[in-house]
Symmetry: C2
Subunit: 152 residues, 2 copies
DNA sequence: CTAGGTTCTAGAGTCGGCTCTAGGGCAAGC
DNA sequence: GCTTGCCCTAGAGCCGACTCTAGAACCTAG
């Protein structure tokens, strides 16, 4: 049964996914689409709802920092069909760890930023009370625990 | 009193900050250093401990996604000295919001990724029980609540 | 004296991820 | 018939943030 679940134009897919039409064509060249996009009259792309769903997943993966080559890898595995599930799972787990690490890093950065915001708030509220306002102003002298935020 | 708090070479600063010497020179050109780096014999850079502290802050800001131009802006304000505190605070607050938004986005991405990991784990554990494993495998059919993750 | 390591400058190159341009096709409405 | 709007391809361009190169100076140890 040749599915006729009303195909979508590239513009419609752009709307639905938040990607630009340029990016959609780019992603296609990059092999990020699970199944080859169909073509209508005039070689125009015809996307299915499944394509849109897949792209939405790709958007999530990108938004969480997965590089395009890895998305392509995952796409390839899915295209290859069953037998590749272990590898897909491994890939997803790795990415999950990656996201958790990112969040961790951000949390640590946030602490320092919040601390500095606090310092400035105090400073502006009850006037520049302390005399320790040297040339580089108050930024120095925050505690020094920002280890392991981003080596190299 | 001309501080002689034992100056550091670019290589030592690289070690201490986790930045490469290339990046240190690059950052200097980009105006990311609060005070101009001193020079020793042979025009070699001499950094102070304060410079290192400042760079560590910059590393944190970068790691949390602040673009270099904004770091430069902040640096400029600090260089200008007192009177710019409100603006610095505003900048930091804006960045703080930005970081929170990032974390929020990541959290939402994480949910979906975790969900998919779960699906694959089930699938691999009690065999491919369900018959709904279509061409694009099991990826489709996750619930559809990933609104607002990354519009455009 | 020489060799090795670090540093210098100016500028070129790289990489990821888009983003845009040029030049053209086709279909619908005025 | 002509304009408008969406689409096509191939390929160039851009942006941010580094990263590296070439060619030279200096310093220390052997």
């Amino acid at each position: 049964m040749p599915k006729a679940e009303q195909d979508l134009s590239i513009g419609q897919v752009a709307e639905r996914t938040g990607l630009s039409v340029h990016t959609l064509r780019f992603y296609e060249r990059e092999g990020v689409l699970a199944n080859p996009v169909g073509r209508g009259p005039g070689r125009r792309r015809l996307y299915s709802e499944d394509d849109v769903e897949w792209l939405r997943l790709c958007v999530i993966l990108r938004a969480s920092g997965m590089p395009l080559p890895e998305i392509r890898r995952y796409t390839d595995l899915v295209r290859q069909g069953s037998g590749t599930e272990e590898e897909r799972l491994a890939l997803l787990r790795r990415h999950r760890e990656h996201v958790l690490a990112q969040m961790d890093k951000l949390t640590r950065c946030l602490d320092l930023i919040t601390f500095k915001v606090g310092v400035y708030e105090d400073h502006l509220e009850h006037g520049p009370a302390e005399q320790g306002c040297d040339a580089s102003s108050l930024p120095e002298r925050q505690e020094q625990d920002q280890r392991g935020v981003s080596p190299r």
